[in-house]
Symmetry: C2
Subunit: 541 residues, 2 copies
Amino acid sequence: MSDLHVYDTTLRDGAQQEGLNLSVADKLTIASHLDELGVGFIEGGWPGANPKDTEFFARAATELELKNATLAAFGATRRAGGSAATDPLVRALLDSRAPVVTLVAKSHVGHVERALRTTKAENLEMIRDTVTFLRGEGRRVFVDAEHFFDGYAVDRAYALEALRAVFESGGEVAALCDTNGGMLPGQVWDVVTDVAQSLGLTGLDAGASGDARLGIHCHNDTGCAVANSMAAVDAGATHVQGTINGYGERTGNANLVTVVANLQLKVGQQVLEPHRLQESTRISHAISEITNVPAYSRQPYTGASAFAHKAGLHASAIKVDPDLYQHLDPKHVGNDMRMLISDMAGRASIELKARELGLDLDPLRDEDSALVQRVLATVKDLELRGYTFDAADASFELLLRREIDGALPPFFEVESWRVITDSQSDGGALSEATVKLTAGGKRVLRTGEGNGPVNALDHALRLALATAYPEIEHLELIDYRVRILDAAHGTDAVTRVLIETSDGETTWETIGVAANILEASWMALVESVTYGLLRAGVPAR
Amino acid sequence: MSDLHVYDTTLRDGAQQEGLNLSVADKLTIASHLDELGVGFIEGGWPGANPKDTEFFARAATELELKNATLAAFGATRRAGGSAATDPLVRALLDSRAPVVTLVAKSHVGHVERALRTTKAENLEMIRDTVTFLRGEGRRVFVDAEHFFDGYAVDRAYALEALRAVFESGGEVAALCDTNGGMLPGQVWDVVTDVAQSLGLTGLDAGASGDARLGIHCHNDTGCAVANSMAAVDAGATHVQGTINGYGERTGNANLVTVVANLQLKVGQQVLEPHRLQESTRISHAISEITNVPAYSRQPYTGASAFAHKAGLHASAIKVDPDLYQHLDPKHVGNDMRMLISDMAGRASIELKARELGLDLDPLRDEDSALVQRVLATVKDLELRGYTFDAADASFELLLRREIDGALPPFFEVESWRVITDSQSDGGALSEATVKLTAGGKRVLRTGEGNGPVNALDHALRLALATAYPEIEHLELIDYRVRILDAAHGTDAVTRVLIETSDGETTWETIGVAANILEASWMALVESVTYGLLRAGVPAR
């Protein structure tokens, strides 16, 4: 197995992403997920500088049980003119008790003189002093050479001196950082090759024996973070930094799973144990749920859309042989092939989707063929009106079943619903929904309250159905997404609501489209409960 | 100026993205935007196969006035065993009246035999026949060699024969497609170099004289679409295909603006006129509004976050010199540097943001220094509760002004609000909101209706303020985004609402955070109207 360092900085550099806001509890949970993925190092944050991170490391000491990864604390070289032993921020790094300390150091003359306002010599002293001190305290020390590539372009000799200072003081890794993200792959390869040669570091042998390693840390400002990282590894780097889901400031850091999957599945470099890479999709999504930043569905390998096929043409070919339209079997990264139902769906897409949902249609039977045609026509029509079935599998399944069985079981009949929301004098607002329906042969009127109108509607609906259908009482609304659409510019907007429901074992998504957000929500709720009843195998009462 | 073909397939391949659903009107508008950007070719769709696209080309003939780009119709080589002259889909390509026809052709033996179920020889005949026929009808012909790289790996000789068939029949471009997206940059470079040599095509000279060109068409399944495209150009391709915002099936097509910006601003290859590249951010966002697919804020160059700086550390350096933390001046692509206000914000971020908003704070004045400290503390506290000011500039400006002036002008005082939504017997739902407030010395009660509860609240609020403040009557709620947050896992979720308002000249975003979605919406609405009044320079009445 390859000795490549897989170094995750999601909790530190990744957290610099716009809109990302992690609590200490979030960070601890994410760290366990990263550990499951099998990364070698987890950079937990900047203790001392960031109070949340000081707390993270304190709690990690007792609450976080890492089985694979080593925790790293990030910080900076000591202040100019000071001393590492008495620098409070350096002390905070020790107090974190992390076995690895990663220091950001300047290697760019311009930054040394204008940002730090110190001398080239003092900057090298800052590196030596801090690295030596931390080594003396028994820590492994990695150094991030900030703005390395830009610094190398401005003053190559000084940039190399900075790296020498790291290794001569006992530093284990000097990670070359493309901090501004402006590099292209060929340029990175050239620089890393030159650095490796100049410092006498070549490939994995040096790394495996415990000697100095070159690392790489890229950002995606030219859209080449992954390619740059791979070029660096090809040129001799044996330590790769990145983040899960490519989180990070501006355009993000290199997506660590993409880099690892490419190295492992394309280049043949065994970086993680295969069974761990198969967990990457699950872990990528789990972490995305915690960060509350919508998962980027189109990210390579682990994105929800990464293996989702829409064009009818592709679906026809996939029926013949999945490998005709996929660059690899999604199982390697724990993802699935998905057929998207849309107005581009050909008959083949519908047949494949039905099969995916466990409904067997025979394309050679006239009946089934006509059914597929009808479903196709219905889908195209609904999508013109704003529906998007490629994000609402359960609603599509209901649509299919309606066509196959002629109608869905008559679980209940809705008479009316109403929601009232009042502001409260002490601030806040209270929502109350009343639902009237017939179920189990009885007319039922129930009122539910909620911290919001949709919540109230959901409660009222389930209260109203509780007597006739006790099976649905454990259903839980876990996600709710709204989008206002201009169906055709110039006319009234419609609202599309996607609801995710859980029954404790699995989750499903349903959709509602209407001019009124609460009506759209109601439609999605009714579909959700209907689907839940079908799933539970409950007969209409 | 470089002779590179910049070929946009947003309207055809891009449209295969999950969730993307374009009307003909949308396509026509997007086409004009692409024309403004200065791309050389706009692939409008697949007439004949896709009724929407047949209509697009028909309307484009009279409604679309392209000043820079040439329209291309996409289609396939004729059916196996048929004849191009009588093939209805080939006829449809002619009927589209597009000056360029781009044909997808097989160059992969596996696809020829198993997907098309024909012979290697017949496939070459299909290429020759269709290209020759269309040339005879006066069309320029480009051919997309589908699955080229995979086909080259399986049977290099046949793949090259397919390309020869294209050029020998009068085809102008053979675009090598990495249809499954599994390639890495080094591999692409090797293949394109070999193909260019084998076919006697080298670099731009051949292209400029009107001879055959090699093109490149990449997808992002290994996260290397941009790098792959650039490797191909470096190896001799003179025609690059991609989509705006990287739209496309699965992980998307190569982001055309990223490729062009890299070539132009990093490699020094003048691809578009400089003033056109400066329009790319505006155009990227305009098209994203039309597609209704949320703009990917972290995309290189044109993403809203591409030059957004969050870390306090970075902000301090940027105060010294923007180039210390940016890989290039965002002005080249029409983007802006943005300081994000967040709990990572250092004092420098606040000062820079205030300056960005036109409020002059003097960091050396004790008063201003204490103010910045207070604002910083307030921001960190609010962000812990779910606020995200990096997406709500107007709310942050109000926060700043509250601190600077002590309080905002007392425009109005809210007594209460209420919203009722009722289902209607004919389907649909009606919302009604009642707002009670004091403005201009009078107590006012107004009820507004709306196609949704927030809409109704917005109408009621503005009706209630109309007498005292006629200045706000033209304000319009143009976007509304909701996100449910788990502030700390295990406790109640809060809802974050972001509202975008327009006064006809500009737009601004405000935020509201509360347990109840309507309360959060109300908060954002009140901030929006308040900001509108401040912006209009109206005094409190």
